[in-house]
Symmetry: none
Subunit: 214 residues, 4 copies
DNA sequence: CATGAATGAGTCTTCATTCAT
DNA sequence: TATGAATGAAGACTCATTCAT
């Protein structure tokens, strides 16, 4: 009995491992500059599986992207939660920025995926289950940010305004900065190191946030 | 002889007019939400020309995008130059932001095009001539921004730092804000009007810029 | 030893039961309008067995159809044999028609299966054993019909002609009528009830058969 | 001017000829026993054109079948109209049967196509224009049959009943007979020549029709 | 020069069948 | 024996680009 269960569990483990192989393969391909042209066949080859196998794990190509985005979200939230919540606001804030950039830059494909999944109609095309997941992810993220902002307001470091107003420009800056790095505009056009760029952007965000009028 | 020349000249005018027709057609199609799926055939139909004619004017599909980006750049620069240079820095700065957003939001296709042309490897795939044009465009833009920043520094409104450091985060914020608007994140997720969003973002940029430490 | 035999016998019973489960599952799926798109996986799911199990019982998908056709043939023959052979010919004849239509229309999947198995090359692709079975089935059916026709001839109700000539047009009418019902031509295009249609067709067959000249 | 028009007309002629090539190719492939497995690529190869060319002429695979069915309908109607309408009913009736069988048996693919297009949901999946065409075709056919039947009734050869009741069983017999010939049941199982079979079937139809009670 | 028919490589997706556990 | 994951050959359809007229 135990043996049977182990055997069954093994099969399941192998299946899940292969699913991860596929996700890893996709992620590695999405890191390349031509990530938008990645085909299901390429993913299959890279994962060392047949094309049909992909469709045992994912109902369509976009579901792979979605799953990667979900995985990425969980990683990011784990990173966030590992930040010491007792630190003063500005240190938490900087940590969040740093952690976010680290994640997104550590693997360009993460960024590509996030970016892809933000495309108009992307979520709408997913199956209902995944749509719900995406909604929950957003809520989880928003809640976290809201709690941090509340702390900042309590500490008097940032103005007392609705959270969405506080984060609006931050998100914009963050997103834009990422894209500039991915597009290699930072190192070529701006001619500065990514680190310097991130320092400036972080400073900018901190100052901008604190300076938002009441 | 004269007749022939006139005839040739008229032909040439017709030819150029047709080129503009194609560009206009492409622009109008790129305004739709499904602009990424626009085909050469659709452009040809919209322009009222044959598909083959497109290739008399542009060596490939991407060249159309490139040409639109060039045209857009010129419009934007014209807008910029129409700003009264004698105003105080912060008014000029706000005007630039306003003018930029107006252009990019007034016509979604402009945004789509700029966005498309920033894709990795896009410029590299163009023919040398267009590549040069893109480099010049960038230089022209940089020069303009540099001159404005110099003014701000001279007026003591912004810190005395290299231009690229001053503009780095601004560009990021600007880009990110645009994308958020296009993706309809502003009106749905952040649940605020585009106008409110732009006000916050502009304020944020102004404050952030002024607050960049030495 | 005895224990082993019992065990084996039970196993065997379970195995045969499972085979019937598969056949039942297939039959139930073939009843739907999209029966031509039924997949092996659907059959396995419906039967509550694994896809691989199907291939322990049937060497290929078509063999399932073949087996269903065989089962159906036996049902039909049983129906036929339950008709009182001492009745006058025309009552027997009408009973046969009625029984046949009842069977084939009572369960659409029976019809779909018969129809499928009549497709060109279908029998030829089967394994020799099944081919033989099909030949025997046909022979059994032909013999039965021949005996009925002989009765009719003896009673002077139908002309004295070779059986194949007597049944040729009957079969055609019967087949065609079935298909018209399945295709819903009867209720839509002809705009009559299936019952009225069957009455007319039965009458037509009876009259046509009796009227075949010598 | 004339030259230009001729030139334009030539292109059009070539285009139409190629369309006919594709239809001819499809028709020839649909004649084979494995006609249900014919692929777009096969049609393209047979027609000597590229796969993409097919889609310049037909929006999808099923449209090819539909067009073939339309063409076939016109041929058949032309055949029908060439029958001398002043003949006595039973001669007209036999002519119609003969002409129909000749057409459908002269080219097996015609039959396959008619058969395919009668499949449930086939017409529903076509574009509205073709759906209308199919409705009109049916109406045209029905009108023709109705006029013939009216003649038969007027001559007192067949009972005075609604047309749909008169034709219901005829259609069934006709359809069934065709399928039996295509499936080679006639020559193998019934062991008679197609001609003999057709004679019997025609006789059967004539007798059955005349004998339908009031 | 203008045209649009022709092209065919490339895309996603399906499914009968196999085979290791 | 039962399983279901894996396979890969097809399949329908798309579209940027070419080229004969």
């Amino acid at each position: 009995m135990v043996h049977v269960m182990l055997s069954s569990s093994r099969k399941e483990r192998v299946f899940l491992r292969r699913e991860q192989d596929i996700l890893d393969a996709a992620l590695s391909l999405f890191a390349a500059p031509d990530w938008e042209q990645v085909t299901v066949e390429q993913i299959a080859n890279q994962a060392g599986v047949g094309k049909g196998t992909i469709y045992k794990h994912f109902s369509c190509k976009e579901e792979i992207y979605a799953r990667l985005a979900v995985d990425f979200h969980h990683q990011l939230m784990r990173d966030y939660r590992s930040i010491d919540a007792s630190l003063p606001f500005d240190q938490i804030f900087r940590s969040i920025i740093k952690v976010s950039f680290d994640r997104l830059l550590g693997d360009p494909s993460c960024g590509h995926v996030s970016f892809y999944c933000k495309r108009g109609q992307f979520v709408e095309r997913l199956n209902p289950e995944l749509q719900t997941t995406f909604v929950q992810m957003q809520a989880e993220f928003d809640d976290f940010i809201a709690s941090i902002m509340a702390q900042g307001i309590a500490q008097g470091v940032i103005p007392e305004r609705p959270v969405n107003q506080l984060t609006a420009a931050l998100e914009a800056t963050f997103d834009g900065a990422l894209r500039m790095i991915w597009n290699q505009e930072v190192t070529t056009r701006l001619d500065m190191s990514v680190d310097s760029f991130l320092n400036i952007v972080s400073e900018f965000m901190m100052v901008g946030l604190a300076g938002l009028k009441h």
